[in-house]
Symmetry: C2
DNA sequence: GTCTATAGAGAGATAGAC
DNA sequence: GTCTATCTCTCTATAGAC
């Protein structure tokens, strides 16, 4: 409508559509299972037209990957820096768990999580990024939070990194469980309060 | 050598070889990636010869699956029935964790775990079995153990099922971490004591 | 039970007309 | 930028000789 964006209107649109369709299909069938044929069909164009927008199939995947790991975790720790906010103690953990919960029940984010779990054993890049975010950065930030809590004598002392892992692991486990339940169309409402329960249980084990 | 096994010597041998090769390849490349061609090549026969032993590729997979979930977990709980042995308290949990640790560092079992993680989002059967063993039976038995411990006032009271999940989740998480590290040939010795550390940490949080 | 040969489907990708 | 047409490769599976 405005004067600003003009020229590549349709082109950009198609490229977006391709990415969208590819993401949907890859979340369902994995990289291999999401063939260029199927992607093209889902978009409503021929296979050859795909190659006007991407060099090859792998480039499509890489583009999706790039968006995969611009993770909301960063957002959380930016909005809630552990050095500053961790003195909130249990409340801080509750906020973190709530973020994971939100992601678990968010449609787009579930797609991303599925692609990650589908390709984690196959794609070096996915695995690398997964380890970086799920096992490194997250744990690092969380361990800072626990360190702060220890300093303020909110919790018993111990190895902050171990504590961070112990806190994070069940959240990951529950999130995986939700995804798997969904795939079998099993109800997940029984899991909706599990994140809060986890924080309650965990806090009771470490609080002074 | 003995007189007993005679006739289907070679046949049974080839069938075994096929299963072995298929398992190796599927642990590396997944179901789709382990083509009949590759399996045949690994065995040292032609593709067509495969079909003398199995109706089709899926039957090979199903045969492997059947062996996948004749799990050592059953062994553990048979050898250490929670109703009886859980009064050992922390020691009981230590034994359980040691079993998971063993499985994590056992070559054959790692292959099975990889196949599970590779196909969990693709194969209904794998997912079903996974949920059954990792999320249901295991948790059920463990929750019995925690219930017993509560009754004997070894640990604080609470929901035994939640406690079982909270105890099990990190073990699963660490096992996954080990598998992923291995795939990138990252050293895992730093993780060798993590299972014991988990039990220590967890016990401190629930012990009375 | 293994082989050669081949069918038939689906994959990724390119050439060239419009 | 999209189309038709086509290439080439790989896949699962079968037929039939030995």
């Amino acid at each position: 409508m405005s004067q600003v964006q003009e020229e590549p209107k349709v082109a950009k649109d198609t490229k977006e559509k391709i990415l969208r369709a590819a993401m949907d299909l890859m979340a369902l069938y994995g990289y291999k299972g999401a063939s260029v044929r199927k992607i093209a069909k889902a978009v409503g164009i021929r296979e050859s037209a795909i190659y006007n927008h991407f060099k090859n199939k792998e480039e499509i995947f890489k583009t999706i990957l790039a968006s995969l790991f611009t993770t909301p975790f960063d957002d959380f720790f930016e909005n809630h820096p552990p050095e500053k906010d961790a003195i909130e103690g249990k409340n801080y953990l509750m906020k973190f768990a709530a973020t994971i919960k939100e992601l678990s029940f968010d449609a787009r984010n579930e797609k991303l999580f599925r692609i990650i779990m589908l390709e984690i054993m196959q794609s070096d890049e996915v695995r690398k990024q997964f380890l970086k975010y799920f096992f490194d950065e997250n744990i690092k930030k969380l361990s800072t939070a626990f360190f702060v809590m220890m300093q303020h004598a909110l919790i018993r002392s111990g190895d902050p990194i171990l504590m961070a892992q112990e806190f994070f692991a069940p959240l990951f486990y529950y999130r995986l469980e939700i995804t798997l339940f969904r795939m079998d169309e099993r109800p997940t409402h029984s899991l909706s309060s599990i994140f809060e329960k986890h924080v309650d249980f965990f806090w009771e084990g470490i609080a002074l």
